[in-house]
């Protein structure tokens, strides 16, 4: 299963980003083959609609779970229709710590 984690930086040692739509990086993690892929958020600085654009971005990568510090209210219905579960975590953890939790 593919999971996306919002990250404040481009490494696994960076902290989870508190925002979903406007996070700097997305970390895609596959719980089956343990592969990670780190991609910059192309819509981080969008004038409007960064949240919906982010849902579109992660949904096109067949993500089933998303983990972030916060999700904007506009995207709940889009996440539901894309079949992506939203999990809110405290943004004081590193991405690596979240991945370790996923594996336990």
């Amino acid at each position: 299963m593919k999971v996306v984690i919002t990250s404040s930086g481009s490494t696994l040692q960076d902290k989870v980003d508190a925002r979903f739509g406007r996070c700097p990086f997305f970390v895609f993690y596959d719980t089956d083959n343990k592969q990670t892929e780190i991609l910059p958020n192309p819509n981080m600085d969008a004038d409007e609609g960064a949240g919906p654009a982010a849902v579109r971005f992660v949904a096109s990568r067949n993500v089933k779970k998303s983990i972030s510090g916060e999700f904007g209210f506009k995207i709940k219905s889009l996440m539901d229709s894309a079949g992506i579960q939203m999990i809110v975590v405290k943004a004081d953890k590193t991405v690596k710590e979240i991945i370790d939790l996923l594996n336990n």
């Binding site: 409007e48 609609g49 919906p52 654009a53 949904a59 096109s60 889009l78």
Partner: protein, 292 residues
């Protein structure tokens, strides 16, 4: 001549000034109309005896998707600058996020499969009223955005167009507060802007933003200070430093607030105000003409 009454801060007295100027222009025998561009909260019509002439529906482009024709290529979403099209190709999902749509029509240009039909939605209404309070016939135009709609600018544009078509010598535009798109849309084609402020830190802070914006737009303007007696002297220092014309001062007076809240004009209730607004009107016309 087109004159906008604007301000950065809300509640400084734009409508107070606009409605009293409108009446004063009429009494001076000038041909004038007033356009209430504060489409999210229009209230200028409360101050006049009016007769409704007509109502116009303001429509905006809104794409309509034919999902039978759609191949989920995503070109429409790529063309959309506002992220208003939500598409997940591998799930054959496509939704229009209407609160983000600006009605630009780029998606329809992008689509090669005839999956986007042109359609329109009503975003607001423009009402035209005539007033025959004075000898000269004058009109009041009111723009009013529909509840739940997000973009005020198309309604403001339609209201100003209606005002233009009346061909009166003077058009007074009562602007929405702030210095964002609705303000820009209102002042864009005016000859002169009157900024109404109050001598408080908030009043000054927002006045500065309005001044900077107008300088950028190369618009001539002057300032009216309302609620004089309140706050401090900083607004005056600012005007002096920036060499900005101070057109008038309206005192901080409970009577003014009472009259306004009951839908009365200052110029019809207080003879001294009637004279004062006549001198303000002359100043505005003179300043507007010299900068044309």
């Amino acid at each position: 001549m087109k004159i906008a009454i604007a301000s950065g801060k809300g509640g400084t007295g734009k409508t107070l000034v606009a409605t009293n100027l409108f009446y004063t222009f009429q009494r001076m025998g000038l041909s004038v109309s007033l356009v209430d561009c504060d489409v999210e909260g229009p209230n200028a019509l409360n101050f006049f005896q009016l007769h409704k002439v007509k109502v116009i529906s303001v429509k905006e482009y809104c794409p309509k998707f034919d999902l039978q024709q759609c191949i989920y290529c995503g070109r429409c979403a790529d063309y959309c600058d506002y992220n208003a099209i939500f598409i997940i190709p591998n799930q054959s999902q496509l939704h229009l996020l209407s609160h983000l749509c600006h009605g630009c029509g780029a998606c329809a240009v992008a689509c090669n499969n005839g999956a986007i039909e042109d359609s329109e939605i009503e975003v607001g209404i423009v009402s035209l009223f005539s007033t025959t309070m004075e000898r000269e016939k004058a009109f009041l135009v009111e723009g009013r955005i529909n509840e739940g709609e997000h973009s005020a600018t198309p309604v403001i544009k339609a209201a100003i167009n209606q005002g233009d078509s009346l061909n009166t010598d003077f058009l007074i535009l009562d602007s929405p507060p702030g210095v964002s798109c609705p303000f820009i849309q209102t002042v864009a084609k005016t000859d002169y802007v009157v900024l109404v402020t109050e001598p408080t830190p908030f009043g000054l802070s927002d006045l500065r933003q309005a001044v900077e914006t107008l300088k950028h737009l190369h618009k001539p303007f002057g300032v009216i200070i309302n609620r004089v007696g309140l706050g401090n002297h900083d607004v005056y220092d600012y005007l002096e430093k920036e060499h900005i014309a101070l057109l008038a001062e309206i005192p901080f007076d409970k009577k003014v607030a009472h009259l306004y809240s009951e839908g009365n004009l200052l110029v019809t209730s207080q003879p001294i105000m009637s004279k004062y607004f006549e001198s303000i009107s002359k100043k505005i016309i003179k300043n507007g003409n010299s900068s044309c």
